[in-house]
């Protein structure tokens, strides 16, 4: 049996959950597919989830903590007799899946791009060495897998599964949340966006990001930022792309006034197309760019916005 931990936003399943269901179906040689939804007020998500899996386990455990999620996923895996557990690969799930893997005595395949099976093992591909290397890994069952977002087609619904409440033995709470600062994002999330427009320090001021936002909006994309920009306090950490920020892999990545340090490249070098605008023709970003404009971003960015508007008309 395969168990999918279905991520949701409280109302709907997230795209990553539907990607994880597709991954589970690809491993159908290892068994049927069950799911678990974890959190609070799960009735509507469970209704949606049952259309994708044979059985949905509902674990009402309250607000997120890594310990609770690991405990709930563990209880669901035990109940389902699952030898394979799949979750989508955000930073949150990457902090509780190691706990789950340890508890199950399972191998952990992190942030995988593709998964297949030879009947007894799961074989996965993933990036390593700061996204510079592609590697193939294999693990015998039991195994816990996280699927890198944006790598897998979304699953289609396929019927009416059953819904079952799951009782979870929760460990005493070890971590108390004193304050949570959620960055209110409008539009698409950075890791799921098909277009990412990133601004670098060369923009000169936080105000210049108005143009970055406008271009991202016009293209239906998300705004990214470099570490230098985030360190300077111009943009929130949640927008940071790179080794210590997020890894993105959009259809097109537009880097505005970004020099292209290796640490930044680690977060975006797998984008399908890379576009760079920089006044320095020798900037490292041009070495990995598909298209680029050598020029002053303060002149080129407004022109890009104008040209995009024309295209849209």
């Amino acid at each position: 049996m395969i168990l999918v931990v279905l991520e949701h936003d409280g109302a709907r399943l997230r795209k990553g959950a539907l990607e994880a269901v597709t991954r589970a179906r690809q491993l159908s040689a290892l068994g049927g597919v069950s799911g678990v939804v974890i959190g609070e007020n799960l009735t509507s998500v469970a209704e949606e989830a049952r259309r994708y899996v044979d059985t949905v386990y509902v674990a009402e455990v309250g607000a997120y903590t890594a310990e609770k999620w690991a405990a709930a996923a563990y209880a669901a895996a035990q109940k389902a007799g699952a030898k394979v557990v799949i979750a989508s690969g955000g930073r949150q799930s990457r902090s509780w899946t190691p706990r789950l893997a340890y508890r199950l005595g399972a191998g952990l395949l992190e942030d995988t791009l593709e998964t297949s099976t030879d009947g007894s093992r799961v074989i996965a591909s993933r990036y390593s060495f700061l996204n510079r290397v592609t590697e193939k890994q294999a693990a015998s069952l039991p195994v816990v897998i996280t699927a890198k977002p944006n790598t897998t087609p979304l699953a289609e619904p396929q019927g009416e599964g059953s819904v079952e409440d799951l009782s979870v033995e929760l460990p005493p709470a070890q971590v108390e949340v004193l304050e949570r600062v959620t960055e209110q994002k409008k539009g698409v999330s950075l890791t799921e966006a098909t277009v990412v427009v990133t601004g670098g320090r060369g923009l000169g001021s936080p105000e210049a990001f108005a143009g970055v936002e406008e271009l991202a909006d016009l293209l239906g994309g998300a705004v990214g930022a470099t570490r230098a920009v985030v360190d300077a306090g111009w943009r929130p950490y949640g927008e940071q792309v790179g080794q210590t920020g997020k890894t993105v892999q959009p259809g097109v990545y537009i880097a505005l006034a970004v020099s292209g340090a290796v640490q930044h490249q680690a977060g975006m070098n797998k984008s399908k197309y890379i576009v760079a605008v920089n006044k320095d023709a020798e900037a490292p970003i041009f070495k990995i760019a598909d298209y680029g404009i050598v020029g002053d971003v303060h002149q080129v960015l407004p022109a890009l916005i104008e040209a995009t508007k024309k295209l849209r008309d």
Binding site: G90, K136, T182, P236, Y273, V275, D290, I293, D296, E306
Partner: protein
């Protein structure tokens, strides 16, 4: 109090990677203390400076890791334990082996990097916490301890959180936690005399690396001159993205 940093040695991100017989060959790469682990070393030294007690470095990896261990000692940590293991060992199994040492050391705080620069894994800290039955805070950007408690700020997928938890606990690092110090010459001299206790490990990896490759995607490299007529360059770029690449 006792503070432990769990560290690894990785190739410098600027280093050129080679592939030999389907494996990354590090023989010509510059190897360094993982920069995310450097934050961990700096933090344990600062905690010790503030609260007294002892700062200990723990490493699990091949013989060559000793260089990174010496760097951490030269930064100011008191002593080190090095579990020697050649070849790949998955983070869950590593955590199991490290937990044994950590249980014996009984530290108040364990710190390690948020993501490893070679395996791109984020699992070691959380897996160690599970093995010890301790709480974990990932991607920590601020840490204060007092009377058996810790208050920490850490990054989430979107946003950040301030949490309070009782010690002992595991923390994984994020940039911004501190500015790691450079080893000084006296520090390097002193580090030569500091204790590194070595022990073999006999753990077997649950995950096997079958093959590694570098596929540099050939980029188009089409550059337009936007210095004289930015409008024309911008229009041409948008046209290319729409008609040729078909991504907008």
């Amino acid at each position: 109090m006792k503070f432990v940093a769990v560290i690894r040695q990785v190739p410098d991100s600027e280093s050129r990677l080679k592939i030999d017989a389907g494996r990354v060959d590090l023989s010509s790469a510059t190897l360094i203390l993982d920069q995310m682990d450097e934050y961990a070393v700096e933090e344990v030294i600062r905690l010790q400076e503030k609260h007294g007690g002892e700062s200990v470095i723990v490493a699990l990896g091949p013989e060559r890791f000793e260089e990174a261990v010496r760097t951490a000692l030269a930064m100011g940590a008191d002593r080190a334990i090095h579990l020697v293991q050649e070849g790949y060992l998955d983070p869950i199994t590593q955590a199991e082996a490290l937990a044994e040492v950590l249980r014996a050391e009984a530290p108040d705080v364990v710190l390690t990097g948020g993501q490893q620069a070679d395996w791109d894994s984020q699992a070691l800290g959380p897996a160690i916490a599970e093995a010890l039955g301790w709480p974990v805070v990932t991607w920590t950007t601020a840490l204060e301890i007092e009377d058996g408690w810790a208050k920490a700020r850490h990054d989430l997928d979107e946003g950040a959180e301030v949490v309070r938890l009782s010690l002992p606990a595991v923390f994984t690092t994020q940039q911004g936690l501190n500015e790691p110090r450079y080893p000084t010459l006296p520090g390097i001299m002193k580090a030569k005399k500091k204790e590194i206790r070595k022990a073999p490990t006999a753990a077997a990896s649950k995950v096997e690396v079958l093959e590694q490759s570098i596929q540099e995607r050939a980029r188009l490299g089409k550059l337009l001159d936007g210095t004289k007529d930015p409008q024309a360059a911008a229009s041409e770029l948008i046209r290319l993205l729409h008609e040729e690449a078909k991504v907008i």
